[in-house]
Symmetry: C2
Subunit: 407 residues, 2 copies
């Protein structure tokens, strides 16, 4: 007998019929003799409906009261799922975040989980009950209802799995796993059976939006094996787990990409110590996040060229700031480019294999794709290219590294 | 400065616009320097929507889970009203039943309030905050969410007023007060400025459905002055308060009536001790509530005739039971009548004035209205008449006792 935490998102519980289908799945796992804790989101559309009600009154609704309102979405789903389970002769008991209690800080709308009381749940599990917990919500020390922010139900599931030392945390969603890349760009993209936490973090943060990144971090920190599965199709999904030393690693796990990038360059900055700080400090003070950063000696050997990327939404803001900074520093010129994209090759196999980067650059060069920026980390190589080459670049690399084959 | 508890029902908070209108009313009371605790229902239609979701899964949904679901309706309203108040610069704080805590027993769907913790609310009131409490809900000792049954928000308001020793509990609804009788039957019906708890209890239980009867009992028990007001019109409504010894009492306060009655008679029962028990016991065992009961010596002087009324919905069930009983007891005959109605004259003035009954009977007789049953209590006289005379009877009595005049 194992303990499984399952999480079903908004689409998976979007109608009464789908909630009944979830109940069937849970009953099937119970029949295999396993203990089950289920975490559910609000029925799809419900959270938005509730937020709209609040915003119809005030564009910036009081955050404490917004949480009191939003948390009702999941509370309805836990009750409905329990009714569906009990109707099937399966003892079940619903828990709101406060009832668990999932103790959080008091940062309304984006609270962080501090502690989970697992005792009442363990008592119910011992009595043979299925436990159904409202995702996305908690309670602070003063008894206020808090929410964890969008996608927070994934975090709830992982946190519960960690607190209960569950054998696996299964995230049911509308895709059947993690793919080598976005199948809309490369139809030959292949579902991965397994991926390491680190790879998943690189994939998720770079644009393959399957799981909330916070929940992957959480799972990694507490070593909770995560599995992404489809609510609507049979299958074993993708297991996200600690890196497995005994197995031979695939060289490359996948290709992530992002279209939301913009590039800023300041040319001919007099090369003095602290120049990077002077350029980036005003940018970060304006709450603009910087992604890739490259600094090169300028053509004259005395000055330096400085390039970085930001989210495309922040481009105009960053450009204005950079123009000011350039004047202060006596730089030659500021250039901006909004039509770029980032492609990243991700794989823990890079650690032990040389030549990945040159193979990557070679494959792209062969198609005439010019690299505007390059940045590498231990398990990832990212390149910035002209936006128009994004799809081509992804397909070229998918092919070059034979990601359609189970290697 | 006084402390006022206000309760707004589902229609009064049925839209975002109406919630904003409620916020305006509350702000106006705050500006007069009063402390305010507001109790709200779910937005109209919301509780039914939630129940339907549950019943779409199971016709008899698990009561604990149904309460978890239903209680979300009020939780949304408290958040929305607080957002509307805070937007108006009026500090406010929402409380679910569990957050108060309103401690109840564990009778899900029809819980009874055991105790209210007034300390957190007092602290917030002292800080100048308006408190907005979810009606209709509480929490049991084990932390389960409970609901008080339909109309329970009135009970919540009165219980809070009692716990906080409020100066007045104002129930805002879609009528502007308690009337001498139903204005749809007698257009000359007059709004009462004041009515005693006892009179209101007789009026409410007899068909003038303005307030939930349980909340009136509660208010009476704890001596909380209740006021019924309209959410949509200005006015002082009707004050329901302890009987005022110093003022001269109006003879009659109002005329209640009910169309939902049916009459059953068993004729010629051998007159032995315990006969009433033998007739009524099987009826009450079948969960049929009996209203009026009359026993008379039969025409032969040796047997007895026994008549009682039940709710019309229970008529067929009660008739079958009574036919069985009649056989066992050796009674002559069983008769039933579904087309009757009850008219009741209510007024504490009856206590000190003789001749009310004869005036009532005389007025009805003059119009040829035959009385099928008569029953009296300290502050009420009820008669059962043929259903077709209901409207006429109400108007005749309203006129005979000059209830249209402020006497």
């Amino acid at each position: 007998m194992v303990l499984i935490v399952q999480k079903y998102g908004g689409t998976s519980v979007g109608t009464v019929e789908r909630i009944e289908a979830v109940a069937e799945k849970v009953v099937a796992v119970r029949k295999q003799g396993h203990d089950v804790v289920v975490v559910v989101s609000a029925m799809s559309g419900e959270t938005n409906r509730l937020i709209k009600l609040a915003k119809d009154i005030d564009d910036s609704p009081d955050p404490r009261e917004l949480d009191a309102i939003m948390s009702t979405g999941e509370q309805v789903t836990i009750g409905l799922l329990c009714i569906a389970l009990i109707k099937r002769g399966c003892p079940a008991r619903s828990y709101t975040g406060a009832q668990v209690a999932i103790l959080t800080d008091s940062a309304f709308n984006k609270a962080r989980i501090l502690e989970i009381n697992d005792l009442p749940m363990r008592r119910d599990l011992n009595e043979g009950k299925v436990i159904v917990v409202a995702g996305f919500q908690g309670v602070d020390k003063a008894g206020n209802i808090t929410t964890l922010g969008r996608g927070g139900s994934d975090t709830t599931a992982v946190a519960l799995a960690a607190a209960l030392k569950a054998d696996e945390c299964q995230i049911y969603t509308d895709v059947d796993g993690v793919y080598t890349t976005d199948p809309r760009v490369e139809p030959k993209a292949r579902r991965l059976d397994k991926i390491s936490f680190e790879e998943m973090l690189e994939m998720a943060s770079l644009g393959s939006k399957v799981l909330q990144i916070r929940s992957v971090e959480f799972a990694s920190k507490y070593n909770v094996p995560l599995r992404v599965l489809s609510s609507f199709e049979e299958g074993t999904g993708t297991l996200i787990a600690p890196e497995d030393e005994t197995m031979e690693q695939a060289l490359i796990s996948g290709i992530a990409f992002s279209r939301d990038e913009a590039k800023l360059t300041v040319l001919g900055v007099p090369d003095k110590p602290g120049i990077a700080y002077k350029i980036l400090e005003p940018i970060s003070e304006a709450n603009v996040e910087v992604d890739m950063i490259i600094q090169n000696i300028g053509g004259d050997g005395k000055s330096t060229d400085f390039t970085f990327t930001v989210h495309r939404n922040d481009f105009k803001k960053a450009l204005l700031i950079l123009q000011d900074t350039a004047q202060v520093l006596g730089a030659k010129e500021v250039r901006g480019d909004e039509s770029i994209a980032k492609i990243s090759l991700v794989g823990v196999g890079m650690r032990s294999h040389a030549g990945i980067a040159s193979k990557m650059f070679g494959a792209l060069a062969q198609e005439g794709i010019n690299l505007l920026m390059i940045s590498t980390s231990e398990i990832k190589i990212s390149v910035v290219v002209d936006e128009k080459y994004l799809e081509l670049g992804v397909r070229v690399l998918h092919n070059a590294f034979e990601l359609d084959k189970n290697n």
